[in-house]
């Protein structure tokens, strides 16, 4: 009996708290009519921002404000839309949180800034710029557009990105690239790991660089690239049989390798100061 009473009381309290939270939340919607290649910028200290494409020429922003300690400053100048979560005195990471869902035309350029995130963008053809301190960043299915990501600790996951420049910098967040290719792919990490799965395609320039983070590249056997891999203090391993290649430095077995695979269409540089580098052959 006591147990049942306790359970009932707990349930009631949870429902009351949830209701309180819901009551204090405010939902707002903003609509903007834009032309081709619009630019949308969202700055949100606390809370997720998700951007997805929608047909038509409207930018639709749905924002859920978690308290009255935060308000949204929004503006449109011609083809440029800007939204900033303005924290009021006394706000905290909970009370200052705003959840954004943004629908944009697929060709819009998007710029998202957040401390906590997470930040998500998918299926766009316009440039994507994401910046977050501890925010998780998840970008997928972007083509013919540049992707720029900066995080301090937040992990970064990019998948199915093609035909644009990709530049990622993260201090300690792990960076995962899955089927990412383009004319330029640059990743710089300090202690975060870099994991690449793909084929280094598109005849591009690939540079994966870290201080202490390990670099793992899982590459298809049909890939075509020339590679220089070097770790000053760490170990390097290679699963491929590479053709000869001249390098400006002496190859020290176990610390560096260089060579070409197939027609060497792409240029790949794997550099880690003291992390381990492994160029793996992907199993079919």
């Amino acid at each position: 009996m006591d147990y049942r009473q306790c359970a009932t009381r707990t349930t009631l309290i949870v429902m009351l708290v949830t209701a309180t939270v819901v009551v204090c939340q405010t939902r707002k919607e903003f609509r903007y009519t834009v032309g081709p290649h619009a630019s949308v910028s969202v700055v949100n200290q606390y809370g997720p921002i998700t951007v997805t494409p929608a047909p038509g020429n409207q930018v639709v922003v749905t924002a859920v404000l978690h308290s009255d300690k935060v308000e949204i400053d929004q503006s449109q100048s011609a083809n440029r839309v800007e939204l900033i979560s303005h924290l009021l005195p006394g706000s905290t990471s909970d009370s200052g949180r705003v959840d954004y869902e943004v629908l944009v035309p697929p060709d819009a350029s998007v710029s998202l800034h957040s401390s906590t995130g997470p930040l998500r963008a998918e299926k766009l053809h316009g440039d994507v710029t994401l910046e977050g301190a501890t925010a998780n960043v998840d970008v997928h299915d972007i083509s013919n557009a540049h992707v720029h990501v900066k995080t301090l600790d937040g992990p970064v996951i990019l998948s199915n990105i093609s035909d644009g420049h990709v530049e990622i910098t993260s201090i300690s967040g792990n960076v995962t690239l899955d089927e990412v290719s383009g004319p330029l792919v640059q990743v710089s990490s300090n202690s975060g790991k870099i994991l690449y799965t793909g084929d280094f395609g598109s005849g591009g320039e690939y540079s994966l660089m870290s201080h202490t983070g390990d670099i793992d590249a899982n590459v298809a056997s049909y890939a075509s690239f020339d590679v220089i891999a070097r770790s000053i203090k760490g170990r390097v391993e290679n699963d491929f049989l590479l053709g000869p290649k001249h390098t400006p430095f002496a190859i020290k077995a176990g610390s560096a390798f260089a060579g070409t695979l197939n027609k060497a269409a792409s240029s790949v540089k794997l550099s880690s100061f003291s992390g381990k580098i492994h160029l793996r052959k992907r199993q079919p």
């Binding site: 924290l87 301090l152 600790d153 300690s172 300090n190 201080h211 550099s271 100061f273």
Partner: protein
């Protein structure tokens, strides 16, 4: 030691590198000693196979034919390149238009110079001001009768023109004086030929980092620890890269690490100081 144990370690051992236990087993076991004997025989015989075969004369003939074809292709490319070069000389009209452009430019420059002189003249005070001053100063015995400047315009222009290179030389000299060679280790001056290594001035860097963290802590206390950790990581990166660069200044790769490290630090500062985020 039994046969299975012996044969398990056999791949990692060569003759002369076996342990006493392994040697003892070999002496007592005919199966393993036959095995080792056969393997040694195979290895001995295999070495005699090196360079033991000769290719047929046809191989060299094929190589010669390919090289001849390659040479004729290269010659053809060189001939075509020369023809292309000759065909790409500009027509005389191009030179005439360049001359015309130079003429226009000279005219424009002269016009600008004239306007500049007018402007200069327009900003000078009227002669009455000087006359009044002159009278006053002469009365007080502070100046004599001024001699009229008969320096022609061209001379004045020459003096102005002379001023520019002198000013440049002065700036260069000033820059040279300001430049202090980086001191490396035990007071040695850094080689001018080597790429410049930016030795972190630790005190300044620590102070800057502290100020940054204080600013972050004021605006967002929860983020301070994260920024502190990240600054520690990037400073470690900078230190490692600098040490490696000092050890081998000609290593291009290490210079790239150094640049990457500074870019990461720059990013941390940028994100911390971004006004759009507390």
């Amino acid at each position: 030691m039994n046969c299975a144990e012996f044969q398990q370690v056999l791949p990692g051992t060569e003759k002369g590198g076996r342990s006493a236990e392994q040697e003892l087993h070999l002496q007592s076991c005919s199966v393993c000693s036959d095995l080792v004997s056969d393997l040694d025989f195979i290895v001995r015989e295999a070495r005699t196979l090196q360079a033991s075969e000769e290719p047929s004369p046809q191989v060299w003939q094929s190589i010669q034919a390919e090289i001849a074809e390659l040479r004729s292709e290269l010659d053809l490319i060189a001939r075509e390149a020369r023809a292309l070069q000759a065909s790409e000389e500009p027509s005389p009209a191009v030179w005439k238009s360049i001359q015309a452009e130079i003429g226009d430019w000279q005219t424009e420059m002269a016009s600008i110079a004239a306007q500049a002189r007018e402007l200069q003249a327009s900003h000078e005070p009227s002669p009455r001001v000087w006359n009044s001053l002159e009278i006053a100063l002469r009365e007080e015995g502070l100046i004599r009768q001024p001699q009229r400047e008969t320096v022609p315009m061209s001379s004045r222009r020459w003096r102005l023109g002379w001023l520019v290179p002198v000013a440049t030389a002065a700036l260069v000299a000033f820059g040279v004086l300001l430049y202090r060679p980086t001191v490396v280790n035990q007071g040695e001056v850094a080689q001018s030929a080597s790429p410049r290594v930016f030795h972190t001035n630790n005190q300044v860097s620590v102070k800057d980092d502290q100020e940054l963290l204080n600013a972050v802590g004021t605006r967002s206390p929860a983020m301070r620890v994260a920024y502190e950790n990240d600054l520690r990581d990037v400073n470690a990166y900078i230190r490692d890269a600098e040490q490696s660069a000092a050890a081998d200044p000609n290593d291009e790769e290490v210079q790239q690490y150094l640049m990457d490290a500074y870019q990461q630090k720059n990013m941390v500062y940028q994100m911390a100081l971004d006004r759009s985020l507390p």
